[in-house]
């Protein structure tokens, strides 16, 4: 019987704190101007630490998690999507982008009141839509100053040291970006604050990877639906000190759960991973899995979009050694930028932009180390950036001997997702794997 409790469970103690941090974040952004502060907007993996040199009263709003919040509110989301379509934009564009644009067009903030207009836009470019996204935002908002850094220099395995011309390309743009930030805001730039933010981001993103690595344990201490609510902090504010502190605290709590065999779900029997963003309005899909004793223990998406990893001496994956841990003292701005560029370029969720086969290798690694029984791939019509190469990933995983289920959907446009049909697929998949409700 799949519902039989095999393990003890306990709610996560830090749950409330994660929620609070997220609420404060959106509030601080909205209220920044009242305190003479600065607001900026950019993507979830933008090189945010660079803005820290402008002062401690600089607050950001990152577009993907903001749009995911909209998507979770189906009614508001539909109004946003329709507003964007009415403005002439295609329905098959990135659904985060369309939700976000809609929120601007309607001038409604998902957390109440009018949309708090940013003072500048600070983006980076890895997928086709990233820089186009804010080009349109700038259009829609009547010309907000906009700077975007191109990070697409090929896979990390090709980078040969901190002085590789590929790193130079990024670092050069970052230097230009800092000059631009000073000019745009009229503020003097503080390199010490930049260095601190770089160290904080390295600390936090490595700690998040450690948290995910703890999920290799059986029973898994976390299930993916919960992980979404935790990893989101990194997508909002990976360069903030509070974020790094939180992930370190979380690592301790998850370690405690592992040590005491505290499970995320009591009836864990079948371990899966997912891929790409889920349909945010339908996370109940993950609860449905539990009826079969199945748990999604994570994905390259939850592990590697924010988490920064390395191969440990024993050959397994864990959080990357931070510059501080390696005894590297960042000397100056250029040094900070080189370290920061290198750190971000090693992001697992950036490698697949150049080759799905690199992603397949990482997925097979996860399947092995996290001891998976199968894989559930979300062919996500809402995000071409994370869905790129997904069909090849499927072929690669099957070749490696892992059963794969696929379902089509959309992370942010419910018109392209069918929960009933997807559950029917889960039924068939579980049946083939031999698990019963």
């Amino acid at each position: 019987m799949s519902t039989k409790a095999l393990y003890k469970t306990e709610p996560l103690k830090l749950w409330g704190k994660a929620k609070e941090l997220r609420q404060n974040y959106y509030r601080d952004y909205a209220e920044a101007h009242e305190k003479g502060g600065i607001r900026w907007a950019g993507g979830a993996w933008t090189l945010g630490a660079l803005t820290a040199g402008l002062g401690d009263d600089v607050h950001c709003i990152t577009s993907e998690p903001y749009a995911a919040s909209i998507a979770a509110d189906k009614k508001f989301s539909m109004r946003c999507l329709e507003a964007t379509e009415k403005a002439g934009y295609a329905r098959d564009l990135c659904s985060y982008m369309r939700n976000y644009w809609g929120s601007i067009i309607l001038n409604e903030y998902a957390f109440g009141g009018p949309f708090p207009k940013p003072d500048f836009l600070w983006q980076d470019h890895i997928c086709c839509s990233h820089s186009k996204w804010y080009q349109v935002v700038s259009d829609l908002e009547g010309g907000i100053p906009y700077f975007s850094i191109d990070v697409s220099v090929g896979p990390y395995e090709n980078i040969k040291g901190l002085n590789d011309p590929k790193i130079d390309y990024l670092v050069g743009q970052m230097h230009d970006g800092i000059e631009w930030l000073e000019k745009t805001t009229g503020r003097t730039y503080d390199d010490e604050k930049l260095i601190k933010a770089v160290n904080d981001e390295c600390r936090g993103t490595s700690a998040w990877a450690d948290v995910c690595a703890l999920n290799k344990a059986i029973p898994a201490p976390l299930e993916e639906k919960t992980m979404y609510s935790l990893y989101v902090l990194g997508t909002l504010m990976k360069h903030y000190q509070v974020c790094a502190d939180f992930y370190e605290e979380l690592r301790d709590e998850v370690q405690y759960r592992v040590d005491n065999q505290i499970a995320a779900i009591a009836n864990e029997q079948c371990r899966l991973m997912s891929d790409t963003q889920p349909p945010w309005g339908f996370l109940s899909l993950f609860r449905y899995l539990e009826q079969f004793g199945a748990i999604s223990v994570g994905s390259l998406y939850t592990f590697g979009l924010i988490g920064i990893w390395e191969v440990k001496p024993d050959g397994t994956w864990g959080g990357r050694t931070t510059p501080e841990q390696a005894g590297i003292e960042i000397k100056d701005r250029d040094h900070a930028l080189r370290i920061y560029a290198d750190w971000n370029l090693s992001k697992p969720e950036w490698q697949h932009f150049y080759s799905p086969h690199l992603k397949t290798e990482m997925m097979i690694r996860i399947a092995k180390e996290w001891k998976l029984d199968g894989v559930m791939l979300h062919y996500n019509r809402g995000c071409e950036g994370l869905s790129i190469g997904i069909a090849e990933n499927r072929l690669g995983l099957i070749e490696a001997g892992y059963p794969v289920m696929t379902y089509e959907g959309n992370m942010g446009d419910e018109r392209e997702f069918d929960l009933t049909k997807t559950m029917a697929r889960v039924d068939a998949f579980m049946e083939t794997l031999g698990y019963k409700k």
């Binding site: 062919y379 696929t406 089509e408 069918d418 049909k421 068939a428 049946e431 083939t432």
Partner: protein, 256 residues
Amino acid sequence: MITAGIDMGSKTIKVVILKDGEIIGKSIELAGFESREAAEKAFAGALEAAGIAQGDIEKTTATGAGRKNAPYTEHEVTEVGSDARGVRELYPNARTVLDVGAEEGRAIRTTDEGKVLDFALNEKCAAGAGAFTESMSRALEVPIEELGPLSLQSDASIPMNAQCAVFAESEVVTLVHAKTPKQDIARAVHDAIASRIVSLARKVGFEPDVVLIGGVAYNTGFVDSLERALETKIIIPEDPEFVGAYGAAIIAAEGL
């Protein structure tokens, strides 16, 4: 031992009654709005054909999209499971099952032992093979059962967009306006639908023997298109739309 399998499809409901491995009764009904009523009617029909009463059935397994609404049922199995089981019983050498019904298309790869290795279902954008042929038969003003034979008269190959039903439909309109012979359009329609099913088959890595089941298997034009695209002979059972229910009835018997 008497068991029953009921396939609650989106358009039709099929019941098969099995006695010691032999089919002793079967029946099909349109699902309509009240699928539960239709299911009871289908059951009644099958019971009558078998000459037994409801109480004689030891176990019933339901399959199909609407299986939650099936009456007299103790047990459920997915369409993937029932299709694979039914086909394996009929054709032990089958390794690929294609099931093309009104709303859904499905490709299943099975192992030498008959276990499901992988399956693929059509996505929203390529849905409704059966429903699509029906609307095309209306557009061409040809009864649905004549659409197949009509297309067999054609040897013209007109490319038609296969990705999206809406686009394909507009191409049909274009062809009608251009006074393209009906048989050529019919063949183009079947080629387009077959191409979607072939895509699914390729996704699961089809291997012979390939068995086609589901109501659309009656359409000879579609079968011809499918065979040309797959470059392989396709096996079609006698009652292709009953295979799911048949598989469910076998599974019911195995569970006793």
